[in-house]
Symmetry: C2
Subunit: 428 residues, 2 copies
């Protein structure tokens, strides 16, 4: 195959420019590796005149990404605009309809429309690749879909939002409050335009829903992801968890249970000496467990020009080499509709209560837990200056439903001052 | 493609049996993922009668793996016998000559004959895949060859011999001597028949030479790997390194420099809070650095039935899907002969000397270092009961050649009691 592979790139932000740079600077390397030249024929972005520090004069320009997607001189439509709907969706649909393969970094789009797009691509005999949509530069989609294809995957976990991990790391390392670090992250431009996408766990939830689909052969179902953000995590909880031997991470977990597929993205405690516990700053980590391979841990930069462009180019090179794999690893029509299971697989929990400082208060709480079948692994009451006494409890393994019932019953005891913090301890 | 992919498996030890189990137990999963049935048609091993706990009666039996490799009903020859020459080499050559693809876990064979085999496969239009040969269940060959294909790789590092890492971990955790843990590992069956393959760094060196080839597009050159085993590592060095904030690992490093390709497999110090420093027991880790992706870390089990069979099946599934990639990532004829560079890229070093306990001894050593242009970052003399005073020095960055010159000059001072221990501190 010496026919060039011709790319049309829509979106010339950080990642798009990164892709252009690699294609321009590594022409020989790419041709040697894939067996054919990889070239850009046309590009599209919102503003034509902006100086992006890269020479675009060799490429045709389209104001409209849909027009770009339909061009006869484009084999692969590279969508790097983002957005759950709008131009990204329209242009990918147009690309598929006009017989192009698609490479995208768009997690929101695939989390919401992945099944429909995968079916459309399949009918047209085209592929959609999205390595860059999950965990930045880490080739995790490839590992799951191809490298571990001989496994029944049992669990996938990941810290996949660098901003959240940055916030939580900085709170611990520098003793700052959530609000202080949030304001700082905002100033540094680390946050999405709608910060809830980051700190509310939505962005990471999108990624988890894509990993789930590939891992378990199920249709992407973002709405089934139980989402909990990091907004309620206090510096006190971070410190207490640390003293108990844990770190708090915004952790995504997907696992297939007898009751169905559990998908949750929530702040969890993980052992501080585990690879997940050791993860700092904006770095991402994905843990994959399979019946044959046991456990694989993949770590790398979750964002940025180079890493994300690296992932895009991995997909482009696969297409250049003639590798054709279904969007979610198996044919779209074979993806099952997973039954959604409420996250109820047993785990130890961390509880943080503020109790009225009077005789019998602790006994009441212990009784409520016992009544709900929850046994206590560790309990500590910490020093306090206020009337309310902070009490920390690490439970033995229990189900979330039992814990929720206990927390509700605690409210009736009259000794609990505010809503308890309850965080799952994920065993990794 | 609904034609079955037919495997012939040579070697029915732990890994071979693991592969048979996966093919038998996951027929539907494999067919769904790859689009065609994956079946075994014939097997070969030394003893036909041995009970391997798996039903082989459906498969043709060959006493001779070469005969297996030539069978008309085999599409992929899966070589799991091992050995640098002999039946493994003969049968792989026969397989290629008779038009089969090859999947192997045989690092020794490829480290020595990889280039010739890759050229033969290429001429015959066949592929050789060897994910299982490096770092067990970790899909690292795939990550390097495909996922990171858009990168110029700058450095590859790895802890890839589980036995050595087990020995070093247990020495640190339990304060045991090298000899004690070695004897224990031997009793537990963790060591190769020739233990020097493990503790001498040869097995890990084989793996590094394969990674180097893929990372840098060069012909496999195992003889150019500078090998140093862990036999001289004392519990004292492990403890001192730990006190200084480092762990000792048998670490492979390959990097392209202006002077040529450096490949070394040797005990190094790594920061104890780095992913490499945190690695315990038999787990493997590979760190890949590329100009776009920055740094990716892959961690997983380095051996065992399930993990190794998982890697073999990843390769098998790729072939079933029709993915054809050159043995070392680019056409064998395009692999360059790298100029070998002696490991001389600058790094800090850890030095452990035994000095005569008399005035001026330390000054003499400091002078020798200074004369060779080596400056001292940290120095400490530890408590001692004997006449010889243990002195620990961490240097600033220096070149190995300067250090060797200094060590030689130290012998002439008359104050050094035995050959100093000098270990590179690899910055990760």
């Amino acid at each position: 195959m010496t026919t060039p592979l011709r790319l049309g790139i829509a979106g010339l932000g950080t990642v798009g420019v990164g892709v252009v740079k690699i294609v321009r600077q590594k022409a020989n390397l790419l041709a040697t590796r894939t067996g054919r030249p990889v070239v850009i024929t046309a590009v599209s972005a919102r503003s034509r005149d902006k100086d992006r520090g890269v020479n675009l004069s060799d490429y045709a320009w389209e104001d409209d990404p849909v027009a770009l997607a339909k061009r006869d001189d484009v084999d692969v439509f590279v969508e790097l605009m983002g957005g759950e709907n709008g131009p990204a969706k329209d242009s990918i649909e147009a690309a598929i309809a006009s017989g192009k393969d698609v490479v995208t970094a768009n997690k929101a789009l695939l989390a919401h429309h992945g099944q429909a797009l995968a079916e459309a691509a399949e009918e047209a005999g085209r592929v959609i690749r999205f390595e860059a949509a999950v965990a930045g530069g880490i080739p995790v989609i490839k590992a799951l879909t191809e490298g571990l294809a001989g496994n029944d995957i049992t669990r996938v976990m990941g810290v996949m939002n660098g901003t959240c991990n940055y916030i939580l790391t900085r709170m611990l390392d520098d003793g700052l409050s959530y609000d202080e670090v949030f304001a700082e992250a905002d100033k540094l431009g680390y946050l999405e335009a709608d910060p809830n996408l980051d700190v509310g766990g939505i962005d990471a939830g999108h990624k988890l829903s894509l990993l789930s689909s590939i891992a378990f052969g199920t249709q992407v179902d973002f709405d089934a992801v139980e989402l909990e953000g990091i907004q309620r995590i206090s510096i006190e909880d971070i410190k207490q968890a640390n003293d108990l031997g844990y770190r708090i991470k915004l952790l995504g977990v997907a696992q297939m249970t007898g009751r169905g597929l559990e998908q949750r993205m929530s702040p969890c405690l993980v052992p501080k000496n585990s690879p997940l516990g050791q993860l700092k700053g904006g770095t991402n980590m994905v843990v994959i467990e399979g019946d044959a391979v046991e456990q694989i841990v993949l770590r790398g930069p979750g964002a940025g020009e180079g890493p994300t462009a690296s992932a895009v180019m991995g997909d482009v090179c696969d297409i250049a080499r003639g590798f054709r794999v279904s969007t979610f690893g198996i044919p779209a029509k074979s993806l099952s509709k997973a039954k959604t299971a409420q996250s109820n697989s047993p785990a130890p929990y961390y509880l943080h209560l503020k109790l009225e400082d009077r005789p019998g208060a602790l006994a009441k709480i212990a009784t409520v837990l016992g009544d709900n079948g929850i046994s206590i692994d560790r309990m500590r009451q910490t020093k306090h200056k206020n009337a309310a006494a902070p009490v920390l409890i690490v439970t033995h393994k229990t189900q979330r439903a039992a814990l929720d019932a206990a927390i509700e019953a605690m409210q009736d005891t009259g000794v609990v001052e505010s809503a308890p913090v309850a965080l799952r301890i994920e065993m990794v």
